[in-house]
Symmetry: C2
Subunit: 257 residues, 2 copies
């Protein structure tokens, strides 16, 4: 009797040509049957956007050797929905997203297309994880991140998380030998302080470029930002039930309505 | 000595011409100095997307009588960021988003541009709330939702929530006299089951329309979906710290890394 190999869906937000997704495919290839469905153009910062009012395109591409791969004209979340409905015709055993070029720790989990793709899979009941490397460069070295991705993907295939959860994994830019461990963390309390760059076009009309500085407001030593600054890979268990239960109890005490 | 009136930022995702945002402006006008910054085109389902790689436009418009108003070419989250940095030059006392044409209960909080705008304000430390009416129609009756928006906005101005939280308010389509109350709830566990509508274009190439059916997986009587089905306005306290603390503790017990 043949053993059934697990089906692993690979996606990202940097687009299907990004070195990060190629590193991820290489990392998880030994673990199962890999299928890639990823955006045909950069989708960074798209959060949990879906495409409404515009139809989607899906084209098979030959970019990963013998691995089945499709590019999609939509957002990372669209990719996961289309993969499940039109390519896999059911849930894969694991969804891995990334490896993102750049950090998705702390508040970035909210803006990240990479993490939203992983979250969409989790909403659909699929064990799911997003990987990010703290290096924006096209020619970043993904060897450590790939190793981490393989180990954590194997872990998730062996011990799927309970429904309603996924993992957010960030990898620092340090040599593999210097890594102190893979540390379970909470999301650091942080934000982006915006300063729009205001310019004037040749017609004399103003326009604005979004720009900003990251501000960590959290001094805790149990956060993802702390771990990454201290030589660890950070892993945050993430949920999509956004209810603030403690606050709900607290304001119920003198709820006037 | 003159009393300082609170500054209230109004935004939405349906766009600045939608009847829902006009109803919201009317609702909160008696409570402070209102400034509107909203998208110049529909932005439903944009989640927490921000605009990267493309500059933004911001134009003052005369759509709300004597109320200062601007339309923005970006997403709902962009609107809040631009409003704070380029129009208000600091945080308003309250951000209200909506009134959305259509439900944003349960998992819809994740996809909704209306709720993401409110969440962005909360990330920036601004007391914040999103309002939605369970009626998609352009000519929906916003009178009950407007009343609810005024009462809850007044409540938030008097008792700001602690940092890190916002409210998600949904209003059922029933006569005001039939409303049983405004009920504190948790987010129902629910999802959309996608079935993409596959078509062929005149060139013989396939394309896909996103379509789906809402599926409530939650039988609890403390959820927003339950409340709305039973004659209540639902209010869910929402957080943007996505850490799953219970799971973190649980998997830490035999974390192998």
């Amino acid at each position: 009797m043949m053993e059934q190999r697990p089906v692993i869906l690979v996606t990202n937000d940097d687009d299907i040509t990004a070195p990060g997704i190629h590193a991820l495919v290489e990392a998880v290839k030994p673990l199962g049957k890999v299928v890639v469905v990823a955006p045909d153009r950069p989708q960074s910062g798209k959060g949990h956007a879906i495409t409404l009012g515009v139809p989607l395109r899906l084209d098979q591409v030959d970019l990963f050797g013998d691995i089945e791969a499709y590019q999609c004209s939509g957002t990372p979340v669209d990719c996961v929905k289309l993969a499940r409905d039109k390519i896999l015709h059911g849930p894969p055993d694991l969804c891995v997203s990334g490896i993102n070029h750049g950090a998705n720790h702390s508040i970035n989990v909210i803006y990240s297309g990479t993490m939203s793709a992983a979250m969409e899979a989790a909403i659909e009941g699929i064990p799911s994880v997003g990987f990010s490397l703290l290096d924006y460069r096209f020619d970043a070295d993904f060897s450590l991140a790939g190793q981490v991705a393989r180990n954590l993907s194997r872990y998730l295939l062996e011990k799927p998380l309970p429904y309603g959860t996924l993992l957010n994994v960030n990898v620092p830019i340090i040599p593999a030998a210097a890594v102190k461990g893979i540390r379970l963390c909470r999301q650091a309390n942080a934000k982006w302080v915006e300063e729009f760059d205001e310019r004037t076009d040749p017609q004399g009309k103003k326009y604005y470029w979004l720009t900003g500085e990251f501000e960590n407001l959290d001094e805790g030593e149990d956060t993802d930002v702390w771990a990454l600054e201290h030589g660890y890979v950070s892993v945050v268990p993430v949920r999509f039930d956004l209810t603030h239960y403690e606050l709900k109890q607290q304001i119920a005490k003198d709820w006037p309505f």
